[in-house]
Amino acid sequence: MNLNLYLGSRIKLISNLLLIFMLISSLQACADLKEINNIAIVTATGIDMNNEGKIEVTIQLFLPQTPSMSSQSPSQINQFAVLTSTGDTISEAVNNIEKRISRQLFRGHDRAIIIGEKMASKHMNDILDYCIRFREIRERSYLFVTKESAPKLLQYEPFMEKNSGEVLSKYVKKDGNLSMTLKDTIVMRTNPSHSYIIPMVAILNPTKKGEHQILKITQSALFSHGKMVGTMSNNLTYGQQILNHKFWQTVFSLKFKKDPGKVGINIQNVKAKITPIIHNGQWTIHAHITGDEVIFENTTHWSTTNLKTAERVEHAVGRIVSGTIRKSVRKSQKVKSDVFDFYNTFYRKYPSECLKVEKNWSDVYPTIDVKVTTNFHLIHSGIAQ
């Protein structure tokens, strides 16, 4: 009898739970469900401004096509589509695009956000605000600025990857290239002059017959107070990267007065030790750069095993590196864009002084003196002696 009672209550409990489960499952209607057949995967976005002052948004969509069994060349098929629409705000323009297609846009795989120069020079804050606020766009998306039209860049058919969005996201990950994700930009923007740097891309037409069009980072855009204020060449961007500890390695050639030959040199493992000093009202940055060098090529008459040659090469490299850094700083000081994050460097050591000049940091920044010392070591001269 007791056992029966016990079983009865158990069955009742279980049936009640089942009933609740069924009711709940009919209530919630699969809230966030996005079937993969119903989403349009956005691989890159372009944001620009047209001549009437309206915002023009371009998206690059992946077109899912089942690779048919008969034709064995899926790479021949155009696997992406580019759509453009305008609106008063970015979200309105995106919405206008979404209205035209049968599926819901999915931005979780938007790897590259390309910003037109016109938009960058006026409304950069709006773009950052939109990208951070919209939850589908990931903070790991890469930002780019372009002088060309965004649709043209997105329509570019690369010869190595599936689409231009993928090209860009892979390209910036390579050594030596400036890569700025949404997160990096927002972190860098915390300085009082709201300065940051974003790589600029362009399509380069082939210089020789038979060569393919390439998509390339040509220079870097400097921003201050939410506006693009200037550009910096790739070479000078190395200076910015070294001082921000983001430089890894590059190859360049050295010329010497005493010898007609050249030395192809690779610098790597570059480290910067930065010491801010405020002395008698003069703000100074002492940067001590160390690194290793490897000789890749030697067409001079000097033996690379010779200690004197090593000294010469080390000295020459040091001169070039410190020159690049100095020029790079001067360029950014000219447009008052603190892309070296000097404010935070000073703030760590002199917080009260920094807080005093926080309001007019844009005026203080150009007066900062940068002193560079270098210490490079030739660690390897190649196998051939």
Binding site: Q28, C30, L33, I36, I41, F62, P64, P67, R138
Partner: protein
């Protein structure tokens, strides 16, 4: 209606009377013969042999047995011939018992006991004037040879498995634990089947109250027949409403003896090669006897692999459903693109696809099990078509789904214990359903629910997740990992006050 029922009941009752279950054996042979002939009427396999013995053939006797269960040659040799050599005066119990050259002679005097002995294959000898019968241990049952266990296979390890005969099984245990401390207690279960069930434990290692509790629970079983240890397991285990088995069953004498030496108790029943071990904890179901034979580094690596695949077996399809229908941003872009491409032609939502494939696979597995052995290969051919290339070409499912189902299947085959593997197979489906509604949240809900449930389970007083939750140092290195044998020098403690803590040798 009630009257009719009552009548029927009475009729049944009166029918029982002819068996004279509680009657004692009288000293008149004719009475006994009458009762036996009545009881075994309409039984063609009963042999009732009346004969006289002694020099002048004065003493009457009766031998009764079931044909096919006794060794006829030995009856002839050791019973009939020996009795014929007796003098007429030697018809008292002592001299007859001495004359019989049979090692096992039991005196029985109640008829229910006599029926039991006859059913056990013991020929029963009745002698005139004697108010008792002699049961002779001359049974000879048809039994299977001791073979390699078919359900728990190992590469390295003993190749002996339990068989259906209880005597053989107990001998297999005695062969491994050669001490009188090994106890084998018998209980008869089943009103009609009268199945011998033995409880085996090591005196001094196993908690006496545990044995008491087991005996108590087995005695409470009210069933007409017990044919498999699974029927006992279902009735004596603690959490009868749980999908998780809380009693471990094994076909291997080595893992059975290993458990006895840890201080657990075992149950063996006649007619089933599956022995029960209790109390049993969660991690027993995910370890194989081979873990202990192949070195602790390999053993640990394989155990970790098994545990990680347990999660795949449980959550594989649900993770796929969650990630492809709720959290596409979690997949690498290239993979998402290929998933999107392969899914373009599929007509169903991913959930339907997943459930379809999983159910098909389970059906295939079940069909493969139930199929007569001769047609076995047919199912693998058809199966490969159903959940393979053909299904993809017909755009019924996406290739990735097939991979997911295949990995899940492999993972579920990796679970060494069949009952536990069934539990995981069963739990997979509600998790898929929950996931299809809540995404990863559904997975987390279900994992939490399962975990809470596991924490609430007990097996004969021992928490199911024991050495880890609640944490106990003894035995904790034999759970997710398999520690070196020389580190397992403390015997785990289960329940009660008896704890023979130190393992010998240390």
């Amino acid at each position: 209606m009630m009257n009719w029922l009552r009548k029927k009941k009475e009729k049944n009752h009166s029918k029982d009377k002819i068996y004279n279950d509680h009657k004692k054996v009288s000293d008149r042979l004719a009475d006994s013969e009458h009762i036996l002939r009545q009881a075994y009427s309409k039984s063609s396999d009963i042999v009732i042999k009346s004969f006289t013995f002694g020099k002048n053939m004065r003493t009457q006797a009766l031998l009764i047995y079931l044909s096919g269960t006794v060794d006829v040659v030995q009856i002839d040799e050791h019973v009939l011939k020996s009795l014929h050599l007796l003098n007429d005066q030697e018809n008292d119990l002592e001299s007859i018992k001495n004359a019989l050259t049979v090692p096992e002679i039991i005196e029985v005097n109640h008829f229910d006991r006599i029926y039991h002995e006859i059913s056990n294959g013991h020929p029963v000898l009745f002698i005139d004037h004697l108010p008792l019968a002699l049961s002779l241990g001359l049974s000879k049952w048809a039994t299977r040879q001791v073979e390699d266990s078919s359900t728990e296979t190992v590469i390295r390890g003993p190749k002996e498995g339990f068989v259906e005969s209880l005597e053989t099984n107990t001998s297999l245990i005695r062969k491994r634990i050669r001490t009188p401390r090994l106890k084998i207690e018998q209980i008869i279960v089943g009103k009609y089947s009268r199945t011998p069930v033995v409880i085996s434990y090591i005196d001094g290692l196993c908690d006496p109250s545990l044995v008491e509790e087991i005996v108590h629970r087995i005695k409470k079983i009210a069933m007409d027949g017990i044919f498999e240890s699974g029927m006992i397991q279902e009735q004596i285990q603690d959490a009868q409403w749980s999908p998780f088995p809380t009693i471990f069953s094994t076909e291997r004498p080595d893992s059975f003896c290993g458990a006895l030496i840890e201080g657990r108790a075992g149950i063996l029943i006649d007619g089933s090669p599956f022995a029960l071990i209790l109390p049993s904890t969660f991690f027993m179901f995910f370890s194989s006897p081979e873990d202990y034979y192949s070195g602790f580094i390999i053993g640990t690596a394989i155990r970790l692999l098994r545990i990680s695949f347990l999660f795949i077996a449980l959550l594989g399809p649900s993770l796929y459903v969650a990630v492809t229908t709720f959290h596409q941003e979690m997949i690498p872009t290239t993979l998402l693109i290929s998933i999107a491409q392969s899914h373009e032609q599929v007509p169903f939502p991913t959930v339907v696809e997943a459930i379809l494939m999983e159910v098909t696979f389970e059906a295939l597995r079940e069909a493969g099990l139930r199929l007569p052995r001769q047609v076995g290969p047919a199912i693998s051919i058809v199966g490969a078509l159903v959940i393979g290339q053909a299904a993809i070409q017909a755009s019924l499912v996406s290739p990735l789904m097939v991979i997911v189902v295949a990995i899940t299947a492999i993972a579920s085959f990796m679970i060494p214990h069949y009952d536990a593997s069934n539990t995981v197979r069963l739990l997979r489906f509600p998790i898929i359903l929950l996931t299809s509604m809540f995404g990863l949240l559904g997975i987390i809900f279900s994992v939490i629910a399962i975990l809470i449930h596991l924490c609430s389970l007990r097996s004969f007083g021992v928490p199911y997740l024991e050495p880890l939750a609640p944490f106990k140092k003894a035995g904790s290195i034999d759970t997710l990992i398999r520690g070196p044998l020389w580190k397992m020098n403390i015997r785990p403690h289960f329940t009660g006050t008896l704890w023979n803590k130190k393992r010998s040798g240390k």
